[in-house]
């Protein structure tokens, strides 16, 4: 859509399979790219029926060999400051009869590097066991608490937690976009994104899972894990990130001096730093008034939509009742089309999130580090004859 091309949220949102943002690329299968000696991001000249365009090349697992996919919708001439000139216009090569395929494409490497914004490597292998896959009948032991030098900190009231079903996740990135809209997360633009300064509080990691049945991928949404033993907290010199009594790992923007050491110590790398002042662009009537804008030089991260928790808590108090399970929905949860995300009170008997946490598929990401994450995952199921 032309309207969508002008939407900076959408432009900056990584495409699920390629991880590219702010533009498109000609998609090759890895063997074809290797045969043409194309490194990811090399510029190619594509000629079809006497017309040619310059495009970036990008390898994608699952692309048919000897065949190139050219995504439509980019390379616009008049789509405002946001949408104009992002990527290349594949319509220039499209046959006049509107066919979706055409033979006889000529690919020539120009030797230049294309202006491409990639947020993920083309090929990602799950070496860390981030997305384990279970065959029928298999399951994990209950999530262990792990040893600690110190006694456990008791959470007798509510204990917020999240369970994300990797099996249900289709990698659409709607959660990331909903989070961005909800929490006034800035769009940083292609230059800053290419420098590794994206601000998304929630990212969706893709892992290639090739099998006998063909190429496949697992998608794993990664928000802040809200670790009970949060490694980010003990390294902060000014108490800018601490726990509240319901176990939330809260980020106190006003207190942050910007040492960035919390990000160093976060094994999930979900913290984001305001390298620049994004407030002028965000301070419009579009913004969510419930969430403060963050100044330059401070850290920010997923809060489990703590403003929604606070609002629900207040409402329950006014009505003189306890919080109901499912009353607090995070923005990512509400946006998920497959209901892969469950949120709630782990201490409440019979809560949906507690049930998911005790499911046999439940596991903690990098659980052996002893961070005791409140966000846990439900592993992917695979048929017996694959993987």
């Amino acid at each position: 859509m032309r309207e969508d091309a002008q939407n900076a949220w959408l432009q900056e949102l990584p495409r699920p399979l390629t991880g590219l943002a702010w533009g498109n690329a000609a998609l090759f299968d890895p063997q074809t790219a290797a045969a043409l000696r194309l490194a990811p991001g090399d510029e190619v000249e594509l000629t079809l029926g006497g017309r040619s365009v310059l495009a970036a090349s990008w390898p994608v697992a699952g692309q048919a060999p000897g065949c190139v996919t050219l995504p439509l919708g980019s390379g616009r001439q008049a789509a405002g400051a946001v949408g104009t000139g992002r990527g290349f216009d594949a319509n220039l090569l499209r046959p006049s009869d509107g066919a979706w395929t055409a033979p006889g494409l000529i690919v020539r490497r120009t030797g230049a590097r294309a202006d491409l914004v990639a947020t993920a490597a083309p090929h990602r292998v799950d070496e860390a066991g981030a997305v384990p896959r279970l065959r029928p009948g298999e399951g994990f032991a209950p999530i262990a608490r792990g040893a600690s030098l110190h006694p456990d900190w008791p959470y007798e009231g509510r204990a917020w937690g999240m369970a994300i079903d990797v099996d249900a996740c289709i990698g659409c990135n709607a959660c990331a976009l909903a989070c961005q809209a909800e929490n006034n997360v800035p769009v940083v633009g292609p230059q800053e994104l290419a420098r590794g300064r994206g601000m998304h509080w929630l990212r969706v990691d893709r892992y290639d899972q090739p099998s006998a049945a063909g190429p496949a991928a697992s998608f794993q949404p990664v928000p802040c894990m809200q670790c009970e033993k949060a490694p980010c907290e003990p390294v902060c010199p000014v108490n800018a990130t601490v726990h509240d009594n319901e176990g939330l790992n809260v980020m106190v923007h006003a207190r942050c001096v910007g040492t960035r050491t919390c990000s160093n110590n976060c094994p999930y790398k979900v913290r984001r730093f305001n390298w620049n002042d994004h407030r002028p662009a965000l301070d419009t009537p579009r913004r969510n008034p419930e969430v403060p804008l963050r100044p330059r030089g401070v850290m920010e991260k997923c809060t489990y939509c703590s403003h929604r928790i606070a609002a629900a808590r207040t409402q329950a108090k006014i009505e003189g009742r306890a919080l109901r399970d499912g009353e607090v929905e995070t923005a990512c949860q509400r946006a998920c089309p497959t209901q892969a995300i469950t949120f709630g009170d782990l201490n409440a008997a019979g809560s949906a999130v507690a049930a998911k946490r005790h499911d046999a598929r439940s596991y903690a990401l990098l659980g052996d580090l002893g961070t005791r994450p409140r966000t846990t995952y439900l592993a992917q199921r695979v048929p017996r004859d694959t993987a």
Binding site: G19, A118, T119, A120, A121, R124, V125, D126, E127, A128, A130, A194, R195, G196, R197, G198, D205, V222, P231, E233, P234, V235, C236, P237, V238, N239, R255, C256, V257, G258, T259, R260, T261, S263, N264, N265, C266, P267, Y268, K269, R271, R272, F273, N274, W275, N276, D277, P295, R296, G297, V298, M299, L366, L369, T371
Partner: protein, 440 residues
């Protein structure tokens, strides 16, 4: 006897030579670059640097750890000379301490400037604020606040207290020459030192005591910097050996700078008799020894990193030492371990044109090691991140050049205004030699 310290005093009291003026001009130009870099940083923010996620630290922490290493090794060296009552201390103690002090000042820039909001750095200090909040005392950065504070205060006091008797000498010399204003200035800082034998006794006791206290303090200063890395969960950083490794590999930087400074000073100030060939000989061999110790630490690192560590750490170390991080890692070993081995050849180590570049390149090699740790250490993390390479921006280069210029300017002014070697130590040495000769 009085003849021998005259060149030292002359150097401190004579009008500037053209070489000094040129050097100072260059250094002050560099300090102006520093001022511009700092101003740009404060106005525009840390976004003008090349940092990103996950490379939240870059030139800032590299330079910090590097300057601390130089200060650390130079101070350690000075303190050991005092404690061992080594003859070399008369010649090099004072400016080894000055190198340490100037390096600490250069280092102290970074913990403040690297903050996202530097104007709030005082929040790391425990003071009763209106918010009622206190610092988080368990943070390695709060340890580091105290580490750098202690480093600055003790290095400065140690240096100053050692200087008091020499300031008294300068006071009296200036008074003899009829320069009463200068005599007053020196006299104020000499605190009325009158050379009382009892005072000398306490002075020496306190000086040696602090020299002994400097050892644990310096080890802790460098160690705390290392702990900022070692206490994190980053696989390449989370190692118990890291503090020791940083102390040991830091030695060639401080000794290299002291050696190069000694070679420059003895020619520039014509004090070849005071910092003599024998002193240069010992210093050069010390650097070669430190480089060997550093090499041993690297060997241990490679062995543990490749064999004994868990798989995440092995993968991280492999990327750092044999993958994309290899040039910095092996560059560090080449410059700070292998190159100083040239100094085992006597003919080479007595030549200023060899000793000065070898000393400074050893320091550069240690800088590469810090780069390899801070940047190379993040090449592999727990999850396969899409790490965009860290490329320092011109603003960061300006800050590095500026801090080096600040270091140079402080040293030049120091060489100009006050005795570069401890005059009372020389007198003391020579009185002891006289006694020894008479006994013979």
């Amino acid at each position: 006897m009085s003849v021998s310290t005259t060149p030292v005093v002359a150097a401190a009291l004579r009008p500037g030579a053209w070489g000094f003026r040129l050097g100072l001009l260059l250094a002050l130009a560099g300090v102006a670059v520093l001022a511009a870099a700092v101003a740009a940083l404060l106005v525009l923010g840390i976004g003008i640097w090349g940092n990103n996620m996950p490379h939240v630290w870059g030139f800032d922490l590299i330079a910090y750890a590097w300057w601390i290493g130089i200060a650390n090794a130079a101070s350690l060296f000075a303190a050991v000379l005092v404690l061992r009552r080594h003859g070399l201390r008369t010649a090099v103690n004072r400016f080894a301490e000055a190198v340490a002090l100037a390096a600490v000042l250069a280092a102290a820039l970074y913990p403040i400037l690297h903050l996202g909001r530097p104007w709030l750095f005082h929040w790391t200090i425990a003071y009763p604020a209106t918010t009622g909040l206190w610092p988080q005392f368990g943070s390695p950065l709060v340890w580091d606040f105290w580490g750098i504070m202690a480093h600055v205060i003790v290095t400065a006091l140690f240096w100053y207290v050692g200087l008091i008797p020499d300031l008294a000498t300068l006071r009296d010399r200036a008074a003899m020459q009829g320069r009463l204003g200068l005599a007053r200035a020196y006299g104020l800082f000499a605190l009325g030192w009158r050379g009382s034998v009892v005072h000398w006794h306490r002075h020496q006791a306190a000086y040696r005591l602090v020299a002994a206290l400097v050892l644990p303090l310096l080890l802790s200063a460098q160690t705390v910097v290392a702990l900022e890395f070692a206490t994190t969960l980053v696989p390449a950083w989370h190692q118990a050996r890291l503090p020791v490794h940083m102390v040991v590999t830091g030695l060639p930087s401080g000794l290299g700078v002291v050696l190069a400074m000694a070679a420059v000073l003895r020619h520039a100030l014509s004090i070849e008799r005071i910092i003599d060939a024998g002193d240069m000989d010992v210093l050069a061999r010390l650097l070669a020894c430190a480089a060997l110790a550093s090499g041993a630490s690297y060997a241990h690192e490679i062995l543990t990193g490749m064999v004994f560590e868990d798989s995440a750490t092995r993968a991280a170390f492999t990327a750092r030492a044999f993958g994309a991080g290899a040039p910095a890692y092996w560059g560090a070993i080449l410059l700070s371990v292998l190159l100083p081995q040239l100094l085992w050849r006597r003919a080479l180590r007595l030549r200023a044109e060899v000793v000065i570049p070898v000393g400074l390149l050893a320091a550069a090699g240690v800088w590469l090691d810090r780069w390899s740790l801070v940047v190379g250490g993040l090449l592999r993390e727990h999850l396969p991140a899409h790490a965009v390479a860290y490329v320092p921006s011109p603003a960061e280069w300006a800050l590095l050049v500026g801090s080096a210029a600040l270091f140079g300017a402080v040293l030049l002014l120091f060489g100009r205004a006050i005795p570069v070697v401890a005059m009372f130590e020389i007198r003391h040495e020579e009185s002891l030699e006289d006694v020894a000769e008479e006994e013979r």
